[in-house]
Symmetry: C2
Subunit: 205 residues, 2 copies
DNA sequence: AGCTTTCGCTACGACCCGTAGCGTAATGGC
DNA sequence: GCCATTACGCTACGGGTCGTAGCGAAAGCT
């Protein structure tokens, strides 16, 4: 994602091993210390590299944590469970498991908070974390429409709005349940959530 | 909320004026600096008090910011607009306006992130911010059931679960839309959100 | 008055930040 | 193989914040 110049430059290339060690050390420090007490000094020591190496690759703590957390979201997959409700349940279970990991809990919300006053950081989060999640919504929605479980749409703008709305409702509810209410997004909760999402609050129990 | 001892202690009482000045200065610093660059040094100077006074009243930055932000949530009211959809729209509009204020954006998410590794802080947020919002859901739900817009429930445990779910879905969606997706929770968005919330995604357009 | 608590002020050691400079290691171009 | 170029480890630095301690003065309660 850095650019289209994989190795066009002369000179000694950057160590990919160091990159992986630094990101792993960052997650380790997030687990033990949390975001606010995490220092680049400490991360460098854990990773076995010099502090200056960190500053050569990342602008600061925020960018480093975004990259470290973003790797976790690579694991998200959309299972084909046969029905829309089952597909959503599968994805949300994975998402809830991610939010259960301490390196994700403390890191993700912190950088989102920072991104409210840092537009480049917001864009970095959008590209490496949010977009990866939203793609699952797009695929799941396409499948459901093909199965006739969701009403089709013709207007592309209306479709984009519906996808955005669905994404904000699903991700927002799970995040709020987990991090604000502080209760687990487990199977029973997810199923009642999906019922409301698909049928609405007005539907009888 | 501190205890049942309003002025039972002898000696010089704490200055209520200083309290208000400190909380206002905290919000001002949040707007100008954001959470991560906010220092208690700076807040004390803005408020015209000594730094040591801050440490006598608050354990640290997190607790101070929670109290400063919590005051903003006092403004939330549940208007009686005649229908459930209109009531929700009124509340969500207020909530979106709150999240539009920079002192709220940067402060609220940051302390929520911190609360993932600080149980007392989580409880402080729950009591002074979350509970205040949830009460709006409880009232709105009661009104809607009285009007016959929502199915009644007999099991009190089931009722509590439904209220929690509704709260997480509403607050989560608005927060995610505003802070993660970075788009405004304006009138059109709110109305399409309410449609899905009440009728579900399966409902035809 | 006398007691108690708060307040402003100063000072302190500890820590982290972000950068600079140096010598050395590793690679690509010739 | 040689050289230019870049990455790396290391050390050191000024500047800033943290959280605490100690002091004398101020302000309220009884």
């Amino acid at each position: 994602m850095q650019s289209r110049t994989p190795a066009a430059r002369p000179g000694r290339p950057r160590s990919a091993t160091a990159d992986a060690a630094i990101l792993a050390a960052t997650r380790e420090a997030l687990v033990e210390l949390g975001w606010s007490k995490l220092t680049l000094q400490d991360v460098a020591t854990r990773a076995g590299v010099a502090k200056t190496t960190l500053y050569r690759r990342w602008a600061g703590k925020n960018e480093l944590v975004v990259d470290a957390v973003a790797e976790l979201f690579d694991e998200l997959r959309l299972p084909d469970a046969g029905s829309l409700a089952a597909d959503i349940e599968g994805v949300v279970l994975q998402f809830a498991a991610l939010l259960d990991r301490p390196e994700c809990r403390s890191g993700l919300m912190a950088v989102v908070a920072e991104s409210t006053r840092d537009e480049p950081l917001r864009e970095r989060i959008r590209a490496s974390v949010v977009e990866r999640q939203k793609r699952l919504v797009v695929e799941g929605r396409a499948r459901a429409q093909a199965r006739g479980e969701l009403p089709p749409e013709s207007d592309p703008e209306e479709t984009a709005r519906t996808i955005d709305l669905t994404f904000d409702m699903v991700a927002g509810a799970v995040v709020h349940r987990t991090l604000v209410s502080g209760k687990p997004a487990d199977g029973p909760w997810i199923r009642s959530f999906i019922r409301v999402l698909l049928l609405g609050l007005s539907a009888p129990a």
